[in-house]
Point group: C2
DNA sequence: ATGATTTTGCAACAAAGTTGCATTCCCTGT
DNA sequence: ACAGGGAATGCAACTTTGTTGCAAAATCAT
């Protein structure tokens, strides 16, 4: 059984060609992908709606996580391990978006530092996104 | 001269009723606002396109900053001081989005902690967004 | 292999964002 | 106070993005 198939099986998802293709696109990319990025790679093979639904499914199953940004475009990246605990992701790495090449990457080795919230606030998820210039663009 | 007018004047913007109205909406709100939030408060007075253009102008002038989120909705909040330096904002406070009431707020008193990027990466802006339950919803 | 269940494609729709252009408004100088 | 030039606005048309219902197709357990 291939890596791709076991990812799907482990998440109790049926193995369909569409899901395998989208997973393959993620695995062969070294940066985060927006819906549009995926669509432009397989719009001839799969319907737009299928891509939306597949991304949604992957999110819920903890196969991918989404990365916030100020440009109104949510990007997605593979989760390293099973990272769904009681309904929400617990990724704890920093994300970086390059102002020059536009690419967004997971900085898996950079952990989000702790932060003290004011009294009364409960923390479920935390996201940190850094903008700047990446190492290939400088 | 009113507070609202001086904000516009200080940013070398002409004082129009639309800009004053949108500023007023921000000033009277205690949470961050999405385009849609503003539109629903003044759609009868001003065109959708004007709101888009006004938010864009305010952003560029450093009157408001935008807050990233994973739900594909950018929200905006007033900047505390002039926070535009060489073309980019330098807000350094944490943002909080409540999963219960959906409101996003600036935690002005919580400073984003420093983080060490890998070699070769240059930091321009940094954003931190925490999800959870706010003090009024718990 | 068969049938129940899930996934997909299609169509239709709704919402969000963009652009060009004519009109209106604001500001400056007189 | 007024006129003229430049900036902002409204409107229309359009593109892009996201959603929903339903019938056809694919997947999976038996
Ligand atoms: Mn990541
Ligand atoms: Mn803020
Ligand atoms: Zn780059
Ligand atoms: Zn709340």
């Amino acid at each position: 059984m291939s890596q791709i198939e076991s990812i799907l099986k482990n998440s109790t998802l049926s193995v369909t060609t569409g899901r395998k293709r989208i997973l393959e696109i993620f695995l062969s990319s070294n940066n985060a992908l927006a819906h549009q990025d995926i669509e432009s790679q397989c719009a001839d093979e799969y319907d737009r709606v299928t891509i939306y639904r597949t991304l949604q499914t992957f999110l819920e199953k903890g196969i991918i996580h989404n990365i916030p940004s100020t440009d109104n475009i949510t990007r997605y990246a593979l989760c390293n391990e099973a990272c769904i605990v009681s309904g929400h992701h617990h990724d704890n790495h920093v994300h970086f978006k390059c102002d020059s090449c536009g690419k967004t990457v997971c900085l898996d080795e950079v952990t989000i530092p702790k932060v003290q919230l004011p009294k009364g606030y409960t923390m479920k998820e935390i996201n940190m996104v850094v903008n700047g210039v990446c190492k290939t663009c400088r």
